[in-house]
Symmetry: C2
Subunit: 244 residues, 2 copies
């Protein structure tokens, strides 16, 4: 029997539950339909009737809603190990769009595959629901951020969240992480203008907290940033097997 490859999703779910051989096998089978998508072209359109979800294995994606006036609100970013469009499988149309920020690799998961895996391996189902619940908790935090945090705390919180998510799949640490996002992505996610994003990043840099330059976020003062953002990572629920 060939060893099961450790996909980012496997790595992430293992923070929640110790998966058995059978469950790992079922998870591997969900990765069978490998697809590539080029940066900039939507994988799923808002309003599209979606019969598939994706597991992102490499690259970054953003999920967003376009407003009638042409502005967009980025709801979240997806990094390796994240599901895209798990919700679209259940709702009859996708309630938002997914756009690759860089070239990405993903596994297509049909609704039928997912329901079959759920029926066969209830613990895997629970682990996937954990991941979905965690995604939802992040959207709640983004709502709180836009509704209640000032621009500097909002940015700091956002960068800390990204760092923690990436650390979970081995792509970041408390020192920093690679990050392909532009100031426009940050602006659309945080409800700020690109000019305001620049000003906020400059302020954080001048305070010696964080530098975002050339596709890399360097966290100079992790504790200081946590204090500034009042960052409590409990909602990410990844402190169990992983970080103790």
């Amino acid at each position: 029997m060939k060893p099961v490859e450790t996909s980012p999703l496997t790595r992430k779910l293992s923070a929640f539950v110790a998966l058995s051989e059978i469950e790992l096998g079922a998870l591997e089978r969900l990765h069978q339909r490998r697809r590539s998508f080029a940066a900039g072209s939507d994988m799923v359109h808002q309003g599209q009737s979606a019969q598939a979800a994706y597991i992102l294995s490499a690259g970054w994606v953003c999920s967003y809603k376009l407003q009638p006036d042409g502005t967009r609100q980025i709801v979240d970013f997806q990094v390796p190990g994240d599901f895209l469009g798990l919700r679209s499988v259940l709702l009859r149309t996708s309630d938002h769009s997914f756009e690759p920020i860089v070239d990405v690799q993903a596994a297509e998961v049909l609704t039928s595959d997912l329901l079959e895996a759920f029926a066969q391996t209830p613990r895997l189902a629970t682990a996937i629901l954990w991941a979905a619940s965690r995604d939802e908790a992040m959207v709640v935090e983004h709502l709180v951020g836009i509704g209640r945090r000032d621009a500097v705390a909002r940015m700091a919180h956002f960068l800390l969240e990204l760092g923690a998510r990436l650390a979970l799949v081995g792509m970041g640490s408390k020192e920093g992480f690679g990050c392909p996002l532009t100031q426009y992505h940050l602006a659309d996610a945080l409800g700020l203008s690109a000019v305001h994003v620049n000003r906020v990043l400059r302020q954080l840099r001048e305070q010696g907290l964080v530098t975002f330059r050339d596709g890399h976020v360097t966290l100079h003062d992790y504790a200081g940033l946590v204090a500034l953002a009042d960052f409590d990572p409990a909602y990410l629920d990844q402190t169990g097997p992983l970080l103790t």
Copy 2:
């Protein structure tokens, strides 16, 4: 065999899937542990380790996150037929609090009950996941509202969403609905001050669109309100069996 009572949740899920006798029975069993909660005292605290979710059968609840500075962001309101804390069952702590706005009745659902029902009746599981997905789509809309809609469109969108949700459980129509929310609830949900909420409601009333008075929302001009808010109810996914 005694006829199965039509709970608001049953009514809501029936918009998604025609439930069989067996599934209706499993759904009824989830309603066994009836509990009452008084207005104003939290049912679930942020940070609490929750081993139960609730199905709301009467009354209104709000879910919120408190910020360290004492402000709060209301994430959503729950009305009869809604689940509370479905996510807390999966995450190890609750990522937000639930407070009854009026005296409420709810059925307590233990994690074990839920997983057992999921294993026995996969279609019921899918229907409950549909409801959870719909809740999540609403949080996304609230994020878009706070991030991208002006105060008047945000309020109009919010009232239309509430009306559609209540219509699904027989508690509202395109003419209006009973609503126990105060200006403070609206302010905390929409990221506005109470003064701003008053001004926005006055503007909507003076434009002949909607009146919110004495616990009742009257929609004078449903189409006008839809146009103002650019309200597209597709994300509520309730146009299938119900509204065609």
